[in-house]
Structures are given as C-alpha cells and as structure tokens.
Amino acid sequence: MNCEETLALLRDHCDGALPEGVSSAVRRHLMACRDCHRAERQELRLLAVLRSQPVVPPRPGFAHDALRRARRQGSGAFPASRSRWFVGGFAGGLASAVGAAAVWMLLVVAPGQPPGSAESAFGTVADDVQRVGVVIQSPSDLDAVTVSLVLPEGFELAGHPGKQHLSWTTRLTKGENMLSLPIIARAQHDDELFVNLRHGNDTRIFRVRLTAPRAPAAAAPGAVTG
C-alpha cells in the first residue's frame, strides 16, 4: 500500500471502519512511513480536540421540567409557552425596570491595560479569525437585548461571510458580560466597527476600532468610544 492509498483510507482507519485485511495493510504502512504516521497523529489529535469541546450543562432540573412541559403542551392542556424562538418583543415591565437610568458601559478589554484605558487588541485564534473582546456592564438581567453590528468594508464576522450588517437578540445578566467577537480581517487598513445595543427605549451605540493585523509579533492598540 502506498502513501496515496493510505491517506485516502486514513479517516476510515481512525474510525475503525475498515475491514481487517485493509486495516492491517494501513497499519503496516503507517509503521513504516514517517509522513503518513505524522498525518495519522494529526488526524487523531484533531479528533481528540473536537471531542473535548465543552458543553455548558443545562440548568438544574431541565430534563424533568422539559418533559412535564411537553406533556402539558402536547396534550393541549396548556398553550405552548413563548420560547425565545418566537419572541417578537419583550415585556414592557422589564424594560421599565431598567428605565432611563440604565448605564451601559462598553469596554474593549486587553490584558495588561490599566482600567479606563479602553483599548482593543486582536488575538490570533486561527489562521484568519481574530477576537475582539468587549465587556458590557448591565445594571440587571435583561432579556431580548438586540445587538446590531455594522462592520466596515474588509472585515466580517466569522460564519457570516459578506455581511456588513448583523443583528440578533440575546440576553444579558446583571454585572459583567463579555462579548467575544470572532472577526475576520481581510483589510489592510484599520477601521471602525459600530456596536448598537438596544433594550426597550434604551439604545447605545459604540465605536470599536479594528486594527488590521500587522506582522505576527505585534498588534497596534485601538480605541473604543461610545
């Protein structure tokens, strides 16, 4: 068995999905070929990292509550509860609880920076994905917060190619909430990202400077204004 044949069968070999005779041939080649052995180790390492991706556990009692609710709703005894999927608005009472006195603070956080300096830095996380971190200080738990991003030309959010405007609904908890924005920078110039946070009648718009990656060793600091 040659390298090309071995590499074509490598994933099935790692899955244990090959017939014994073929699997033996692959194993013999891997023992003899350093390059293919390295490819096998990369594949196994990738699978190990993927399988170790953490899962945030559900809230306590979720299974019991979900089954009970399914019984009630499925039998027609109770109407389907409004889930987040169908939220078109939010409780006015909650909005009024926040009121005009809500204070939104948006800080772009970089390590080693003194408090109040509000600078941004790109963190390399993958070949072309960089992370911009923002901390949002919320005065209380808030549901149905609309987050809108307006990205400059040459920058995009990972997973949403070609989109300069993005909007979604999320929730904030009282205190610090950290946003981690996976930004793909294709531009060679610095620019600004606008982050719009809206809850009820309370809206704040922040500008976050995006710094195009320079040489791998350094990243120029940016600034946020809001």
């Binding site: 990292v49 408090p115 979604w168 904030l172």
Partner: protein
C-alpha cells in the same frame, strides 16, 4: 393518560442528555439548546406510540432534532458571539493576562474554526467527529449520500487541521499570544 405519560417519559428521559448536548453543539448557546430540546419533546409527545416502535431511537431523534434546528433556527442569525456570564475579573476590573491567554487556547481556536465552516460541513463534523455517529447514521440523520458526507468531512478536516498546525508551529507561551478577550 397516566400510562401514556409514563411511557413517554420512560422512552425519552434517557435520551435527553444526548439531545441537549447535540442541540448545544448546533446552537452554541444554553438557552437556545434548551428551547430546541423543549420544542422537540413537545412535538414528540403526541407521537408516543410511534416512539415505542423505534428499534434504535437515538439516530431517529437526532434526525428530528436536526430538522427542527434547520427549520426554526438556522434561518435566523445565529448568535455569533460568546457571552461569559461570570467573568474572572480582578479588582481593577480587567482580566489577568494569563487568564485571558488561557481562554484563547486551542479549544477556543477550534471552536472558532468550527464556526467558520459552512453549515453542511459543520453538521457533519458535529454528528460524526464530536458526537460519534457512524457515517451511515449521519447519512440517515442528514439524508445526504455517503460520498457527499465524506467530501464534506475531508474539506472540514483540511480547514480544522490548519488550526492544529498553527498551534504546533510555535512555542506555547502566553507572551506570544496577542489576546483580545
């Protein structure tokens, strides 16, 4: 009715941990994952009789969950950002540099790379590589030919391996990481 409730719970309860985990893989948010599982259970309750006849319920349930995800959620903008509800802030109000560096470890980079895959590739990686379904089972869940699945896996792995290569190429050091938290 009491007998039917008992049958429903007996059939579904053992699968809820897996269904939630799968929902979380797709949605990446706890609340969305809980909502997705809730929607699934509500839909399945009237079909309790059908569930009793399933020989291997796990792939079937996963298929229904995935279809629900595609129909109800994939069309909306998936919340692309990560919220950490409990930040490790030191008294000055900013994370320690080492803590920030740890957050952007290999797992985070792989998670980011997963988010960069298109949805078809991402679904195959989640089901096969992460959740351990065999390719024939993934074929059943996604209703996609085996050759297409292998092709999607190859492209996805090629991209994801790039992240590992980058990690192996440099010395592990907090100083070398340009961290944006």
């Amino acid at each position: 009715m009491a007998c039917r409730r008992s049958v429903f719970e007996t059939l579904l309860e053992p699968h809820i941990p897996h269904l939630y985990r799968l929902a979380f893989r797709f949605c990446a948010q706890r609340e969305d994952a809980e909502d997705l599982v809730q929607e699934l259970l509500t839909k399945l309750y009237p079909r309790t009789g059908e569930l009793e006849c399933l020989d291997r319920p796990r792939p079937w349930l996963s298929r229904v969950l995935y279809r629900l995800y595609v129909d109800r959620y994939r069309r909306a903008v998936r919340d692309p950002v990560e919220f950490f509800e409990h930040t490790d802030l030191h008294p000055s109000g900013l994370p320690e540099p080492d803590q920030a560096a740890e957050r952007l470890g290999l797992q985070q980079r792989i998670a980011d790379a997963l988010n960069c895959l298109n949805e078809d590739q991402r679904a195959v990686v989640i089901l096969h590589d992460i959740e351990g379904f065999s390719l024939p089972e993934v074929q059943l869940i996604l209703d996609v030919p085996l050759g297409t699945l292998k092709s999607r896996l190859n492209r996805a792995h090629s991209r994801l391996r790039g992240v590992l290569s980058d990690d192996e190429a440099v010395e592990p050091s907090a100083d070398r990481r340009r961290v944006g938290i």
